[in-house]
């Protein structure tokens, strides 16, 4: 199918296009330079044209998402798989990263993705508490690289996620956690795990660097841990997940304050580091994380239903439904810190938009978040409604009057995430890019504008027209293609510690892995 999207204001920051009226031509699923005049066209004059959105960090499929569905049947924050894909498409998002897939459950995650239409998806697999990798790190660190590649290849994975390294293992062993990068767990330390895995991921040349959920999430004073993690990573590329949750001052157990300015400063000065914000939005959320000790803390704070699921060898899982209230000091502070990070960010290419869906709020709240960034007046009204002590603990009232431009929004919602993920065919509209395009009416109310795209094109097909879903398309699995020494299989088989057989662990069912595209 060919299509000319004619005369819209095109925002394609990866190609230096900043709102110029242009035609975007697509043919056979890709952006092309030219089309005959007779090709079908969409008249996009007066509209805004961007690449399809790319969500770098969300929880959309797999055991923990599904446990949350069972915990709260019908909750719109954790929609069923088909609706998840449709809702993303209706917002103009066409690529989503499932940011915490347990390798042992890869078949489950992939099966859910097969029932999640409309979007291309990729998995970050959880390796930061894998005790077999801990063993290799101690015994034969040179093998770590091959082992990580084996795990990616065995699960259809794209990238590597570390969540509270060593802390989750200590939780499963004894309800414990770690509090510093030098706490010893099974003769390794968080620092050693971070260094080892980050180095291995760098050496493998994966398209996305190691994706780190730091230790001490949510704890007052955790900015020290975050900065220690950053210094440990120094010189290596890395992506920090939901930075807002790791940007707190104060003392553990005490009242948190904001250290967002310091972290924004650090990020600005270190081009090898990127992050997504993990903005919290007032209203209902569901916290779900591999960081199970955090969930136990939330259980005790809220008294809400709590799910814990210990996953052998490699990870944990915790779920607690949650609501962020604007009058609550901590919640308002978290909200404020997220906005501080956005507004102080020097480089939108490296600090991109997320709510850590559904932890900080649903992805359905992205349009409101975009308005908070683009519309100072609206933001100031919202700031007035939030807990005043919390807001005073931030710099939001200190003339932080920045408004994101349309181009910056295009960067933090598509061009930036695609670049950080190393997905060269996503997030831009240059020739050869995937024909994933979103067309918005240029409405002054930016929330309304981004909530209801006029057209969404996925893989060259018009899937949304006038805000309605008009075609259901299947997405592709995006996988990395690491090269590794097959001899690692023998090493892993010899020391296999799972309750399922070594040969039964790798996913090889074609329907789970196709259609897929290798990246990098």
């Amino acid at each position: 199918m060919s299509l000319r999207i004619a005369g819209g204001a095109v925002y394609d920051p990866a190609n230096g296009v900043d709102g110029e009226a242009r035609d975007v031509c697509i043919d056979g699923g890709s952006v092309v330079a030219e089309l005959p005049d007779s090709a079908p066209r969409i008249d996009a004059r007066g509209m805004v044209v961007m690449p399809g959105g790319v969500d770098i960090h969300a929880h959309i499929a797999g055991p923990k998402v599904n446990l949350a569905r069972k915990l709260q049947p019908g909750d719109p924050i954790v929609p069923p798989a088909p609706e998840t894909g449709e809702r993303y498409a209706l917002l103009g998002y066409t690529t989503v990263i499932e940011a915490a897939a347990p390798p042992l459950a890869a078949r489950h995650v992939l099966a859910e993705l097969r029932d999640t239409p409309m979007i291309d998806a990729a998995l970050l697999i959880l390796l930061g508490n894998n005790v077999m990798l801990f063993d290799l790190l101690k015994r034969d660190p040179a093998r770590l690289r091959d082992a990580i590649a084996w795990w990616l290849e065995s699960t259809g994975g794209y990238g590597v996620k570390i969540v509270n390294p060593c802390g989750v293992e200590r939780w499963k062993a004894a309800n414990g956690n770690v509090s510093s990068l030098d706490d010893e767990v099974l003769d390794v330390t968080p620092r050693r795990v971070i260094e080892g895995i980050a180095t291995a991921v760098t050496e493998l040349g994966l398209p996305h660097p190691v994706h780190v959920h730091c230790n001490n999430l949510g704890v007052a004073g955790n900015a020290d841990t975050t900065l220690d993690t950053l210094r440990t990573l120094e010189g290596r590329r890395a992506h920090l997940a939901h930075l807002q949750f790791h940007a707190y001052g104060g003392d553990p157990g005490g009242r948190p304050r904001s250290r967002a300015p310091e972290l924004a400063e650090y990020l600005g000065a270190h081009p090898e580091i990127s992050a997504d914000v993990g903005q919290v939005m007032f209203g209902d959320a569901v916290t779900m994380t591999a960081d199970a000790p955090v969930s136990a803390m939330l259980r005790d704070v809220t008294g809400n239903p709590w799910v814990n699921h210990d996953t052998e060898v490699e990870t944990g899982c915790g779920i607690v439904p949650f609501a962020y209230k604007e009058r609550n000091y901590v919640h308002a502070l978290q909200w404020g810190i997220g906005l501080e990070l956005f507004l102080l960010s020097r480089d939108p290419w490296r600090l991109v938009l997320s709510t850590d869906h559904p932890n900080g709020g649903s992805f359905l709240s992205y349009p409101k978040l975009i308005r908070l960034l683009m519309d100072r007046e609206f933001r100031n009204e919202q700031i007035k409604r939030a807990n005043k002590r919390a807001i005073r603990a931030t710099v939001l009232l200190d003339d932080l009057d920045r408004e994101y431009t349309m181009s910056e929004i295009a960067i933090v919602t598509r061009a930036g995430p695609a670049r950080l993920l190393g997905m060269m065919q996503k997030g831009h509209l240059g020739v050869g890019a995937d024909a994933d395009v979103t067309v918005y009416d240029d409405k002054p109310d930016r929330e309304e504008m981004f909530a209801l795209p006029r057209y969404v094109v996925k893989g060259g097909r018009v899937v949304v027209r006038d805000g309605e879903l008009v075609e259901r398309v299947e997405g592709s699995l995006l996988r990395s293609a690491p090269q590794f020494d097959d001899a690692i299989a023998g090493v892993l088989e010899r020391d296999w510690r799972y309750s399922i057989g070594f040969r039964d662990y790798p996913v090889n069912e074609p329907w789970l892995l196709e259609p897929a595209r290798r990246v990098g």
Binding site: N175, V307, I500, G501
Partner: protein, 345 residues
């Protein structure tokens, strides 16, 4: 050289991997329950397709099933717990096409109220105390390893129970659970059972506990989850429900991700019942390796795990592949269901 094929056992919820099928007949490494499970699937099967008791070809049976489903005002799809995720997804395709109710066999009411703390099988080895609550894993899940000190509460068969046995004097296990909760919390309560008091002490003192049960009753499940919640701040405690059917967890999971809820219907009248595998209901359409003989349409498919591959979510939710160590010229139930879905779509 004897031929050796790899298999996974579907004899219970454990879905043990690493079974070897030697010369297409011997199942090396399976327990008694597993050997029986494999042997049943090697028995001669009924004709591939029957409609109203008469043998027919597959196409005619598929057409008949499709017509029955289309004519139904209130169709139900049930069974599902002994087949693969692939077949469950295909069953959901049918349900979506005709608006059928799906019975996953699950009830998550207690889970919705409190959540749960659970673990995969490999994590159970950390337990210093394993409490078996009114279950008999030696019979139902022979390969399940119990770790640490083992206490069996109110075993269905006291003679064969593992570890120490705590009999419940009270006839109502829910009462006993509430007493246990009070004892664990240090709340004064009338309790005439020194054994229950001793169990409460052990639960309080155990740093790491596994609680295995097969509670299907809502209140009993709620009591167990509440007990776990009481203990969780002081002890790492995980529970595991000893589901019997190899893919009971998968039926619940697939329904949840496809529709946002996991539970079967609470009552209801249905004018057409399509069963995938065994069911307690009387099916109108029966699809499975040994379909119900009195169904109007009965399709005898290749048996998952012996003649047809796929995967299941074993009792702890972990996906495990089933293999097809032996050949079959029959279609799998997933293929039959997909063909019906195709006719409906």
């Amino acid at each position: 050289m004897p031929s050796r094929e790899r298999a996974t056992c579907g004899g219970c919820g454990l879905a043990c991997t690493g079974i070897e099928v030697v010369d297409g007949a011997t199942f090396a490494g399976a327990c008694g329950l597993g050997e029986e499970w494999f042997a049943e699937r090697l028995e001669p099967q009924p004709p591939l397709a029957r409609v109203d008791g008469s043998e027919t070809d597959l196409d005619a049976a598929l057409d008949a099933a499709t017509d029955l489903l289309l004519d139904a005002g209130a169709p139900l799809i049930c069974g599902l717990t002994q087949t693969t995720i692939e077949a469950q997804r295909a069953a959901l395709d049918i349900a979506e096409a005709i608006g059928a109710v799906v019975d996953s066999g699950a009830s998550t009411l207690a889970f919705q109220e409190l959540g749960a703390s659970t673990a995969t099988l490999g994590e159970l080895s950390r337990a210093k105390l394993t409490v078996v609550w009114r279950a008999d894993p030696e019979t139902t899940h022979p390969r399940l390893k119990l770790h640490g000190q083992v206490v069996t509460v109110d075993p269905p068969k006291p003679a064969g129970a593992q570890g120490e046995v705590v009999a419940l004097d009270s006839s109502d296990p829910v009462d006993a659970l509430w007493t246990l909760r009070a004892l664990v919390r240090g709340v004064a309560v009338t309790n005439d059972s020194p054994e229950l008091a001793a169990l409460a002490e052990r639960l309080r003192g155990s740093p790491h506990t596994a609680l295995l049960h097969d509670a299907r009753d809502h209140l009993e499940a709620l009591g167990l989850h509440a007990l776990v919640r009481d203990l969780a701040p002081r002890s790492h405690i995980v529970t595991l429900r000893l589901r019997r059917d190899v893919n009971a967890a998968g039926a619940e999971d697939v329904l949840a991700w496809r529709t946002g809820h996991a539970d079967g219907p609470d009552g209801g009248e249905f004018d057409a019942v399509m069963a995938v595998g065994p069911t307690r209901r009387r099916p109108t359409i029966s699809v499975g390796w040994r379909p119900s003989e009195d169904a109007r349409v009965a399709i005898a498919t290749a048996a998952a795990g012996v003649h047809r591959a796929g995967f299941v979510h074993r009792l702890d939710g972990v996906p495990v592949p089933l293999y097809a160590p032996l050949p079959s010229d029959r279609p799998g139930d997933d293929e039959v269901l997909s063909a019906i879905a195709g006719r409906l779509g």
